[in-house]
Amino acid sequence: MKIVVASGKGGTGKTTVAANLAFALSRSREVVAVDCDVEAPNLHLFFPSPAHELPVRVPVPAFDPARCTLCGECGRFCRFGAISVLLTEVFFLPDLCHSCGGCRYVCPEKAVRDEYRTVGSIRCARPSPSLTLIGGALGEGEVQGPAVVRYTKQLAKGAPLVIYDAPPGIGCTVIETMKGADACLLVTESTPFGANDLALAAEVARQLELPTGVVINRSDGDDRAIRQVCRELGLPVLMTIPFDRDIAAVQNRGGLIAREHEGWSSRFSTLFNDTCGMGGAA
């Protein structure tokens, strides 16, 4: 079972839900929690523990001056503007390279080979015997977020129960995170922003054919509008977390309500069962 926790709008509590769900489930089984919010990775803050770090490396071209005839074929092929063939050398801008391998393919002299460039890192930790944490982090100033998500998810391959903490938004990295999941939980809040962005994220999940449920976070009791939106979108509301200064305080200092507040661990277990059930029903 692979569950992705996403939201559309940022800061609705994706990481709160992912971290508590992973913690609650790890009491009775093996869980792998994967932080795919590579631009702002925070899942590890809730599970302080020593970690191994691995680099994320993507292929980029290296040009062999001994073979290169400066024919310009690679520069003409590259649609990303990463290669300029000058009078005496090939000028390569790694930031613009998408690692497609086209330049290597089109070179008539076989003067291009793959070299590897680090664009991010993956942090692996085992905060408890039944919980594995794998977190991707995009390097500062880098733009290959989807590649970092892809490599990060690969490390969790084969695990029976995986929880992905998605980035906000509905762009490339979100799509990369949702791909291959079995079910999706969308975390929202009862504001017009929450409603607007919930509908957008639900559309991405729908395109990827993921059974989807909703968690309403920081509820102030007046959830009529957001529940109406859920009904219109055909999404079941599986959990409501009230706004409460105590809950906010636990969260803000990196704590877990499933560990510290009575009742929440079993509520998150129920959330998991309901999420699985939804998958069966779909």
Binding site: N42, H98, G169, F193, L200, V204
Partner: protein, 314 residues
């Protein structure tokens, strides 16, 4: 014109509330841009009236003609993005959302069955608001390519006819492609953060990325009183990074009420509204330095005075 972007790193810290608040407080001619194209919400607070829409052509993606495809699979073999699969019917199919538009498949197809075509992946909008024109967009869910759309929104805002003193940008969360597209070419960024471990962690990351550009960075701590201790640690971190904190906004239920009513918090009086007004005054003094280059501002009290050559914290 001064270009000012409101960013955060961590999502949901209050960028849009701060942006709309500043938009209502600013008394000089301004243009608004919502560069959070994946989850654009500024229009919900400024009563935007859509005036003009145009399709957004994202990057090109490969389109395979099933009539011409022989199913040799060369394209699928070489595609590094896993975008092409050859089905049981021996015809290759390209999944547009995985395609990066590199064109390698087009190049290797022995039968000329593949062409790269622009894909409509969103809509670019121009609206009228009470506070000035708004340039914004909707990325179609599942399209990707938001960095390019951010650039398009910014370009549209820049080209808006009529003089403006301020381009006020509501930025995206994160530190990747959309954020980099947003802050490049701006004069200053306001980083909105919150008193939590995640807020602090992402603040460092976003400041690290913004530092790569030639711009001024200031910070605002939102909902600071939810954890005064953490707010203090954020202030210490900002001091260590040499980023001035221009204000602290208290947690205030009036903010949610204003969002639900669809108006900037600063048009009504409340603790958060007053705090934001204080932030704006400080920021205005900061920005007055740049404003002076294009002539002294008419309404900025701090503008022409020599005092604002040197920024001092209030």
């Amino acid at each position: 014109m001064i270009r000012l972007a409101v960013v955060s790193g961590k999502g949901g810290t209050g960028k849009t509330v701060v942006t709309a608040g500043f938009a209502a407080l600013n008394d000089r001619a301004e243009i608004l841009a919502d560069c959070d194209v994946e989850a654009a919400n500024l229009e919900l607070l400024v009563s935007a009236q859509w005036a003009h829409t145009s399709p957004f052509e994202g990057a090109e993606t490969a389109v395979i003609d099933p009539e011409k495809c022989w199913g040799c699979g060369r394209c699928a073999e070489l595609c590094r993005f896993g975008a092409i699969t050859v089905g049981d019917d021996a015809v290759a199919v390209c999944e547009a959302r995985d395609c990066e538009g590199c064109g390698l498949c087009e190049r290797v197809c022995p039968n000329g069955a593949i062409t790269l075509r622009p894909r409509i992946s969103g809509v670019v909008l121009r609206s009228a608001t009470e506070y000035g024109p708004l340039s914004h967009a909707r990325l179609y869910p599942g399209s990707g390519n938001s960095g390019l759309l951010v650039q398009t929104v910014k370009r549209q805002a820049e080209k808006h006819p009529g003089a403006a003193d301020l381009l006020l940008i509501d930025g995206p969360p994160g530190t990747g492609c959309p954020l980099i597209s947003t802050v490049s070419g701006t004069d200053a960024v306001v980083v909105v953060t919150e008193p939590s471990l995640s807020g602090l962690h992402d603040l460092r990351r976003v400041i690290g990325v913004c530092r790569r550009f030639d711009l001024r960075i200031v910070a605002v701590i939102n909902r600071w009183d939810l954890d005064p201790g953490a707010a203090g640690r954020i202030e210490a971190e900002c001091a260590a990074l040499d980023v001035p904190v221009i204000g602290r906004i208290p947690f205030d239920p009036a903010v949610i009420e204003a969002v639900r009513a669809g108006r900037p918090i600063t048009v009504t009086d409340s603790p958060a509204s007053r705090a934001l007004a204080g932030c704006w005054e400080t920021l205005r003094r900061e920005l007055a330095l740049t404003w002076r280059v294009e002539g002294p501002p008419s309404s900025c009290s701090a503008g022409p005075s020599p005092d604002c050559e040197h920024h001092t914290e209030p």
